[in-house]
């Protein structure tokens, strides 16, 4: 029993986090928006050069042969900066999905070696993110996995409140030709897990921004952060994050078990992270006062990402149903914390 990251894991996450915090500031986000580009090419190149995209692909397929526990800190860091590029869904969901296929039609190699991207939609999701820049889409028809390439679909942009979420309705038809496998469960779990990790990062960012503002903004002759009313709002939000993060980390470590218990953990992680991020974002708006609901203050970039990810890869209601099912199917009790003992 060792519920801690290794030195290596911490070092990789730290390096990725520093790079993202340096290159993806709110100023960078606003510049990207002004340019109207789908992504920041220099930053995306750095992400690729660091090998982050191939972390969850096996070494014999050109990846780093790492696992969910290695990547979870990077997803958290991507959330912390509200990264516009599709790192989390590409590296966290599409790449391991492709790597698990008998025949991926060469797409894993194109992603790892040629800089191609593959977009992936959660089963039942009404739209696909980042489909316009993707060379191929991974889509669900029931439990079947379909891969379609640019001549096989038509896209219609659906504007998200989050200006960096590039959402598209996809007009496509599943066929024997497009089917490349079946079994979405593990991929949907990765999607939920890493969305949860992003939400933890987003929540922490909202609190950090609110703390910085509360130290700076004076009313009644003192920084508003010196007043208990403000302190307690922020402390309450921080507590929720502190008790979402370990659930997300446990969900990452247990994902491979693929059981009722491990899937309930992922759902718990998604619910807890979404609620923590939601509270942090709303608290940050309150602490910023009227400035909090303006376009001028950067907070809304993070709040809108929270709004989106809260429902991505399974709504809270759907995940709650899985937790309820786990409680009904498996015994509960103090000796049954970990999925490994169920």
């Amino acid at each position: 029993m060792q519920f801690a990251f290794t030195e290596d894991q911490l070092a990789i996450s730290q390096a990725a986090r520093e790079m993202l915090v340096d290159t993806c500031t709110p100023v960078d986000l606003r510049k990207l928006l002004e340019r109207g580009d789908p992504r920041d090419d220099a930053r995306w190149r750095t992400v690729q050069e660091m090998g982050l995209v191939g972390m969850l692909a096996p070494e014999d397929k050109g990846g780093l042969g790492m696992n969910e526990t290695d990547f979870v800190g990077i997803a958290e860091a991507a959330g912390y900066v509200a990264l516009p590029e599709p790192l989390v869904e590409l590296a966290g969901v599409a790449v391991p999905l492709l790597a698990g296929l008998e025949d991926d039609r060469g797409w894993l190699e194109r992603v790892l070696n040629d800089g191609a991207t593959v977009a992936v939609a959660a089963p039942g999701a009404p739209f696909v993110a980042d489909a316009d820049t993707a060379g191929a889409l991974l889509l669900a028809d029931g439990d079947n996995i379909h891969l379609i390439t640019s001549n096989g679909f038509a896209l219609e942009r659906q504007q998200s409140a989050d200006p960096f979420r590039r959402l598209f309705a996809v007009d496509w038809s599943p066929s024997a030709d497009t089917k490349i496998g079946s079994g979405w469960s593990r991929s949907a779990d990765r999607g939920a897990l890493f969305a949860a990790a992003e939400l933890v990062g987003l929540g922490q960012r909202c609190i950090d921004m609110a703390v910085a503002y509360a130290k700076d903004r004076n009313q009644f002759g003192k920084p508003i952060g010196s007043y208990q009313a403000v302190k307690h709002l922020l402390a309450t939000a921080q507590v929720k994050i502190e008790f979402a993060r370990p659930v997300v980390h446990a969900a990452a470590a247990e994902l491979q078990i693929d059981s009722v218990a491990s899937r309930a953990r992922i759902s718990h992680a998604k619910i807890a992270a979404a609620e923590a991020a939601d509270l942090a974002a709303r608290t940050a708006v309150q602490v910023h006062g009227a400035m909090g609901i303006t376009w001028e203050v950067d907070l809304h970039f993070f709040l809108k990402r929270v709004l989106a990810l809260r429902n991505a890869w399974g709504t809270p209601a759907r995940h709650r149903a899985r937790v309820i099912e786990r409680i009904q199917v498996l015994p509960t009790g103090p000796d049954l914390t970990f999925a490994s003992v169920q």
Binding site: M1, Q2, F3, A4, F5, T6, Q9, T69, I207, V211, A214, K215, K222, P223, G225, S226, Y227, Q228, V230, K231, H232, L234, A235, T236, Q238, V239, E242, F243, A244, P246, V247, H249, A250, A252, A253, E254, H268, I271, A272, R320, V323, I324, I327, P331, T332, G333, P334, D335, L336, T337, F338, A339, S340, V341
Partner: protein
């Protein structure tokens, strides 16, 4: 990261489980807060635990422990709560004063107090709060006046759990004339010493869970001071760290309560709206989240880390999850929630009313949640002091 137990940890769990199955009393013991008999029955249980070397498994072997790490302690606690073993009457001693004494005590003090504490020979109460010093603990006014090799203690303490029947107390006293955080010392005193009088305080349900302690020229040897003279605040903050951090409330307590909540829900679900399933699930998630956070904290400590201000997040989380859990149970019981255990229609309800009333105290004791939020805001988030 490895979220599985190794063979030794599994064998340890099996050993604890077998001992508990053979030794835990079949029914609940009489309350330790109502009668001397109930208190002594719990003392006997402490002796039995100690005889099996189960009193405090993390303590060194020479003090009756097993020298085990915190992961084993968590496993022990899981089996303890799973077996519905009696509440630890000496928790102020073994979980709070014991670790403090190991850090700050002299060898003579450790030898004199810790084995007796482990054996249940001395049951301890905490004597920190005063009528005028609750959340503002630095406002303590009780005094310890140096008189050669003795202190003369005077003043009044309050909200001392178990003090009605306990043997000893550890209290915070100040040098006359000193102010705030300076000049305080942590002094150990017998509750039957001349000049000490104890007045039980009834909780709203009639249990005498805590007491007031009056000290009138109580003579205590200087050798019964824990830590340096004048360093009492520093010593107490270390104790408070243990209290909020992980020793006071092990996650198993809440996970076992959730197991009972699930059973209560299952027995009543035909007449409950579907929303109750979500509330029960929320309590299950909260208890598991607390368990995971504590396993992570224990792993960090085992690897040589320390507990910082995040201990305050623990205290807020467990006290609030406990109220949510208790409230859900009360709402499942519906009209019968108000029934005292003695009512014939309450035969199958269990102890939820008592659980609920005790849960209400959670956000107050061990440092109110308002104080914890100040600590989080100032020491974790770096917000300015008022």
């Amino acid at each position: 990261m490895k979220l599985d137990y190794n063979d030794q940890q599994r064998a340890f769990r099996a050993e604890v489980r077998a001992w508990m199955e053979a030794n835990v009393p079949s029914g609940p013991l009489p309350s330790f807060d109502l009668t001397r008999e109930g208190f002594e029955a719990h003392r006997e249980w402490e002796r039995k635990l100690n005889d099996g070397r189960w009193g405090m498994v993390t303590w060194p072997e020479e003090l009756g422990g097993r020298g085990l790490d915190l992961i084993r302690w968590l496993i022990f606690e899981e089996e303890y709560y799973r077996a519905n073993a009696p509440v630890r009457v000496n928790q102020n001693g073994i979980f709070l004063l014991g670790p403090t004494m190991m850090e700050f005590g002299t060898d003579e003090q450790k030898a004199r107090f810790l084995p007796r504490m482990a054996a249940g020979d001395d049951i301890w109460a905490q004597a920190w709060s005063e009528p005028g010093a609750g959340s503002d603990l630095a406002g303590v006014r009780s005094t310890a006046t140096r008189d050669g090799e003795h202190y003369i203690l005077n003043g009044q303490k309050i909200w001392s759990s178990r003090a009605t029947f306990a043997d000893w107390a550890f209290g915070l006293f100040r040098e006359p004339g000193s102010e705030r955080h300076r000049g305080m010392s942590l002094v150990l005193f017998r509750l039957d010493a001349p000049g000490v009088s104890v007045r039980p305080i009834e909780r709203m349900d009639g249990e005498k869970v805590f007491a007031e302690i009056f000290l009138d020229n109580v003579r205590v040897p200087v050798a019964d001071r824990l830590g340096e003279e004048g360093q009492g605040w520093h010593v107490c903050m270390a104790t408070a760290g243990f209290e909020r951090g992980l020793l006071l409330r092990s996650p198993a307590r809440y996970q076992e309560a959730v197991r009972k909540l699930v059973a209560l829900y299952d027995a009543n679900k035909d007449i409950l709206p579907a929303s109750f399933a979500e509330r029960v699930a929320q309590s299950w998630m909260d208890a598991d989240a607390y368990a995971l956070a504590i396993y992570a904290m224990a792993s960090r400590l085992v690897a040589g880390g320390t507990i910082g201000p995040e201990a305050s997040t623990n205290k807020i989380f467990w006290s609030e999850l406990d109220i949510g859990l208790a409230q859900t149970a009360m709402d499942i019981l519906g009209e019968r929630a108000e029934l005292m255990p003695s009512a014939s229609m309450a035969a199958d309800i269990g102890e939820w009313l008592q659980y609920y009333i005790f849960a209400l105290a959670g956000p107050i004791y061990a440092g109110s949640n308002e104080i914890q939020r100040n600590i989080i805001a100032e020491r974790m988030l770096g917000l300015p002091r008022a």
